[in-house]
């Protein structure tokens, strides 16, 4: 009986996925993709690629553009011509870095593709470490044992920010619990996002929710907090976050707090990318509308926009540390 029922139900209600060809009117003209999310912390670097028709079976390597001419202008003059260093990555030959507060322009051209141009900047950021405190009752489970205070000065105009806390970890979690990664090749430390909490009213868990004052943040818990200056335009504010280390490290507990100022273009790109990913890789592909990722590249696609980060590295006693003192690298398998 069960077999018979299984046959009936199998016929009736099991969905069937098949690959189909769609009649999409009009041809597709490939575009030059330039991507640079630049910051004063890093050398001028950019990736150049090209788009292809959605249904084309191009090898990802075929979408790399190795022969583009990419020129950066900024600070009132020619800055640099970027050189291809492999895999579509172009880098400065003069060890130049972007500077905060300047508008840069990129011109890119590649054989067989329309040329592209974009403007972008890395907004300035002024922030200051105030203090870190360990609560007297740090053994309590009622509240986070560690508190960090930062101060930041918002510049006039609409600005967007993000804040992320990282922990340096040398352990991983498997089915048996947390173990130290020491039996894999290249045992090393890595950054892992550490959840923090804050009652700062501007914080949002998703880029999408910034500028929506009614978006529910259930318990003020953040992996990364995104926020705008809507509530503190052009003023200096101090905000507080609390946290509990996600992992109890065998040795010293090290943390890194990164405050970032995002340009308008980068924020728009991030927001649309979040929605795009939800469309393409989320649970409801069949019912969500397609989302086009934001671009500020005229004649092409991609993003040319900057950000500026202030990074604060500290241990649980509030002492600073430097990255060169820690061995970072690829983590081994979590066995």
């Amino acid at each position: 009986m069960r077999i018979r029922l299984a046959v009936i139900w199998g016929c009736a209600l099991c969905g069937c996925e098949t690959v189909v060809d769609l009649d999409v009117p009009g041809g597709y003209e490939p575009k030059l993709i330039i991507e640079s999310q630049f910051s004063p912390d890093s050398l001028w670097t950019m990736r150049a690629g090209k788009s292809t028709a959605f249904g084309a079976t191009a090898d990802p390597r075929d979408l790399i553009v190795p022969d583009a001419r990419i020129v950066i202008f900024g600070e009132g003059r020619f800055r640099d011509t970027l050189r291809h260093v492999g895999n579509g990555i172009y880098r400065t030959t003069n060890n130049l870095r972007p500077a905060s507060g300047y508008v840069y322009r990129v011109q890119a051209a590649a054989p067989g593709l329309p040329s592209a141009e974009a403007r972008g900047w890395a907004p300035p950021l002024e922030s200051e470490w105030v203090e870190m405190q360990a609560a007297a009752n740090s053994g309590s489970t009622e509240s986070d044992p560690y508190t960090v205070r930062l101060r930041m000065a918002d510049l006039p105009g609409g600005n967007y920010y993000s804040l992320t806390l990282y922990q340096v970890v040398t352990v991983c979690r498997n089915a048996r619990g947390f173990i130290r990664i020491e039996n894999g090749p290249g045992y090393s430390s890595r950054y892992q996002v550490n959840v923090f909490r804050s009652t700062w009213p501007s914080f949002r868990s998703y880029v999408e929710a910034v500028d929506d004052p009614t978006y529910p943040d259930l318990d003020n818990t953040y992996w990364t907090a995104f926020f705008s200056d809507e509530l503190f335009e052009a003023t200096t504010r101090e905000f507080t976050i609390t946290f509990t280390p996600t992992v109890t490290e065998p040795d010293n507990q090290l943390f890194m707090l990164v405050l970032t100022a995002l340009s308008d273009d980068l924020f728009a790109y991030e927001r649309s990318l979040e929605l795009h990913d939800y469309y393409l890789f989320g649970p409801s592909l069949t019912t969500t509308r397609p989302v086009t990722v934001y671009t500020n590249v005229a004649g092409g696609l991609g993003i040319f926009a900057g950000y500026t980060s202030d990074t604060y590295r500290f241990d649980l006693e509030g002492n600073p540390w430097e990255e060169k003192d820690v061995s970072f690298g690829e983590p081994g398998p979590c066995r």
Partner: protein, 788 residues
């Protein structure tokens, strides 16, 4: 607010239209047309006087009234499915006449054919379909479940939306633009099992009527169509009933007299056992179930020859459960539960009264409730063995109180007047959410959100319509509806003219045309490409105005071979504005937990089309062929750069062929073939590899696939077609008639598109093509039914 002066002038103008027949000494014959075997009253029966080529049609409650200047008349009374009747009358004064018709057992009768021809040819109402329930019962259906709503999808310009759905998208309109009435009360969600079945139990229904154009003034509040379901009244003379067992559900119906010839009842119920059938295959970590049940009830009492009261009700409920545990049989480990339920409840009291012999009054009060609730709960234990519990629920509730009075007055056979008033008090509680987060060591979070709170509003409408024979070959139905809506902060008014004409071009040919303007004060906020029970019904409110639109339609009606064949060719143009949609990027599953009113934008739409409907109603072989050419576009400021784009249900070609063949008195074969060109789909046109974020989130080594979308809805999904067949074997037992039905849905196993979407990864490569989800391939069905 509607200017009172404008309304008065409009009504006066309408009522001053004079029929061609001069006033004189007249008498009235009125009464009811009834089923001789059950006492049920028969709506839509044709009461015709051949001598003057005029007559009346019994109204929804079986009442007719003829006022004439003849002392001696011959009445020809007919209705599809009944033996025609003829009455010779000598009339000296106003007379009440109850006409009984006997259900037909043999086919084809010339008198009936003539009458049927007159009924269809002479009616001003166009774009109207009424399919006898008996005919619907023998059409092939999914899993043997008779579904009235799905039968309507076989008619021209009626789209179903996605595969298997019982939704209706009529003449380019949206699902929320159909006024679905069950015994006069609005139904908000007519679906069971996520739309695979409708809530209307065929065993309890007497009649279903679809009006998709030239909507009369007595109906209002929706832009696209009226779908009017009328429940049986109950057999006044004897107990009768039926029962059926199908693959996934069973149904039963019982009707009979409470007091013979004075009071009767009908009760019907259905229950699916889909959830029980799944159970053997879901052992272990997962539980899954979907089920529904519904109950219809109606009772009536004949107080006097002029008064009759009815009580009717419906309640139906759906439930869905999905549960997954990482460690079966315990509460340890991860556990996820999702529950969804929705229900419709309707109750009404109706009083029919005949005042004098010419005025029929129908008074109705009723209540409609629709509610859904969903709950998701996840439980997990953290690495310290502590419990982490997260629960989120979402619910929506609508409560409507309806009161209306309809009056019908027929001063003479060439002139019929209807007028009335309707009031609906809405109480909407859309999209309220509750969230609970309970994590060890943290203060529990409990949050309730209701972005709009409870929204109360009031709709009032006055209408008047007059069907008048202006010339021997010209009839007109002129009506006007004045509606007023009062919400929390807003008031809206509307004057809605409705006009239809019938020009008799030849003995068997009529030209019909209509114009109707409508206003709609409720919206259905749908998140994606498929209607779900969790779509939000919301009233007109701050930032969301009413929908409005008009439709112009014209067509030719032609009867052939004494009415055995009918062909209708119609064209229409419909303009709509004010309908709502989520802004780009929003989707219904997440937006419920945001302030969804801020995510809504309004747009406009245009649809046009041409339909051909050829029908054979009589004989051993009956059926119809329908074809529609249509184009439907939408325009939203925030979509497609503000440019018009194809509506999601824009289907250029749509065809259906329905055949029913009576092999013998005990055997019948039915087949239905449908074809539809592909629905528009909005899909990516290009792709590239990008980086996935800034700072530490960005890493050129790990490519992030980005798609580049083109204009909205420019691609087309593959076409849709399928063939359904069924065969029915009847046998008269000593106590009942037994029917065994065998059927096949999608007989040639066509893989029709339900959704088309980008495929994420195939053969190790990402985003290189499209994938289609097909549901409901070849499905055999068997059911057995007893009727006594």
């Amino acid at each position: 607010m509607v200017p009172a002066g404008r309304l008065s002038w409009a009504l006066m103008g309408l009522l001053s239209i004079q029929p061609m027949e001069a006033a004189g000494q007249s008498v009235t014959v009125s009464g009811y047309v009834e089923n001789a075997l059950s006492g049920e009253r028969i709506p839509g029966a044709n009461v015709f006087i051949p001598e003057i080529q005029a007559g009346a049609t019994s109204n929804q409650y079986g009442f007719y009234s003829l006022t004439i200047q003849l002392a001696h008349i011959r009445l020809s009374i007919s209705h599809v499915g009944y033996e025609p009747a003829v009455r010779d009358l000598h009339i000296k004064r106003d007379t009440t006449l109850i006409i009984t018709l006997t259900p037909r057992v043999v086919s084809l009768d010339e008198v009936e054919v003539v009458a049927v021809k007159e009924s269809a040819l002479g009616a001003v109402q166009m774009s109207r379909h009424e399919i006898p329930i008996k005919e619907i019962e023998t059409l092939p259906v999914i899993l043997g479940e008779i579904d009235l709503q799905k039968t309507l999808q076989l008619l021209p310009s009626v789209q179903s939306g996605v595969e298997g759905s019982s939704g209706l998208y009529i003449r380019g309109g949206r699902a929320d633009q159909n006024l679905i009435l069950l015994d006069g009360l609005p139904v908000y969600n007519p679906s069971h099992l996520f739309g695979f079945f409708s809530i209307f139990n065929a065993a309890a229904m007497k009649r279903v009527e679809l009006i998709k154009g030239g909507i009369p003034a007595r109906y209002g509040g929706r832009l696209s169509s009226v779908i009017n379901y009328t429940m049986k009244e109950g057999n006044l003379k004897r107990f009768a009933g039926e029962g059926a067992i199908g693959l996934i559900s069973s149904r039963a119906m019982l009707e009979g007299p409470i007091v013979k010839d004075r009071a009767s009842f009908v009760a019907a119920g259905r229950r699916t056992y889909a959830d029980q059938l799944w159970r053997p295959f879901l052992r272990g970590r997962k539980r899954f179930g979907a089920a529904f049940h519904d109950v219809n009830f109606k009772a009536n009492y004949i107080l006097t020859t002029r008064d009759r009261v009815y009580l009717s009700g419906y309640t139906g409920r759906d439930s869905f459960l999905y549960q997954e545990k990482s460690v079966p049989g315990t509460d340890a480990g991860r556990q996820f539960t999702y529950e969804l339920g929705w229900r419709n409840r309707l109750a009404s009291a109706r009083w029919n009264r005949v005042v004098g012999d010419r005025l029929f009054v129908n008074t109705l009060v009723g209540v409609t409730q629709y509610a859904f609730a969903s709950r998701s709960q996840s439980r997990d234990t953290d690495y310290g063995g502590h419990l982490l519990e997260f629960e989120q629920s979402w619910q929506s509730d609508i409560l409507d109180w309806t009161a209306k009075v309809d009056l019908e007055y027929a001063p003479n056979p060439r002139h019929s007047l209807r007028f009335g008033v309707e009031s609906i008090t809405h109480r909407f509680s859309p999209g309220s959410t509750k969230t609970r987060l309970d994590e060890f060591g943290r203060q529990a979070v409990n949050e309730e959100r209701a972005p709009t709170g409870i929204l109360r509003s009031q709709e009032i409408a006055l209408y008047a319509e007059d069907e008048v024979q202006l010339r021997r070959a010209l009839r007109m139905l002129a009506g006007i509806r004045a509606s007023h809506y009062a919400g929390r902060n807003h008031r809206f008014g509307s004057i809605e003219p409705r006009v239809g004409i019938n020009v008799r071009l030849a003995e068997r040919t009529a030209f019909k045309a209509s114009f109707s303007r409508s206003k709609q004060y409720v919206h259905l906020l749908t998140g994606g490409g498929v209607a779900l029970p969790t779509d939000l019904w919301i009233p007109t409110m701050d930032g969301i105005g009413p929908q409005s639109g008009f439709q112009v339609a014209a067509g030719i009606f032609q009867a052939f071979r004494e009415g055995r064949y009918e062909v209708t060719v119609e064209g229409y143009l419909k303009k709509m504005k004010g309908h709502i949609d989520y802004r780009l990027g929003a989707d219904n599953s997440r937006s419920a937990f945001l302030d969804w009113p801020d995510l809504v934008e309004t747009g406009a739409g245009t649809s046009r089309g041409a339909e051909v409907f050829a029908q054979k109603k009589h004989g051993h072989l009956t059926g119809w062929i329908g074809y529609t050419w249509a184009r439907s576009t939408r325009k939203f400021k925030g979509l497609n750069g503000g440019q018009p784009f194809a509506d999601g249900y824009d289907r250029r070609h749509d065809a259906s062929i329905v055949i029913q063949y009576k092999v013998s008195e005990t055997k019948q074969i039915s087949a239905a073939w449908v074809y539809g060109s592909g629905y528009p789909v909005w899909v990516p046109v290009g792709r590239y590899v990008g980086s996935g974020g800034f700072g530490l989130r960005s890493d050129f080594r790990y490519p992030h696939h980005v798609v580049h979308t083109g204009p909205v809805n420019t691609a087309r999904a593959p076409s849709y077609h399928r063939l359904d067949v069924s065969v029915h074997f009847r046998k008269q037992r000593s106590w009942a008639e037994r029917t065994i039905s065998l059927g096949i849905y999608n007989a040639y196993n066509r893989k029709n598109p339900m959704f088309v979407y980008p495929k994420r990864v195939i053969d190790g490569q990402s985003l290189i093509g499209f994938r289609q989800l097909s549901l409901l391939q070849l499905i055999p069905a068997v059911s057995i039914q007893w009727r006594f």
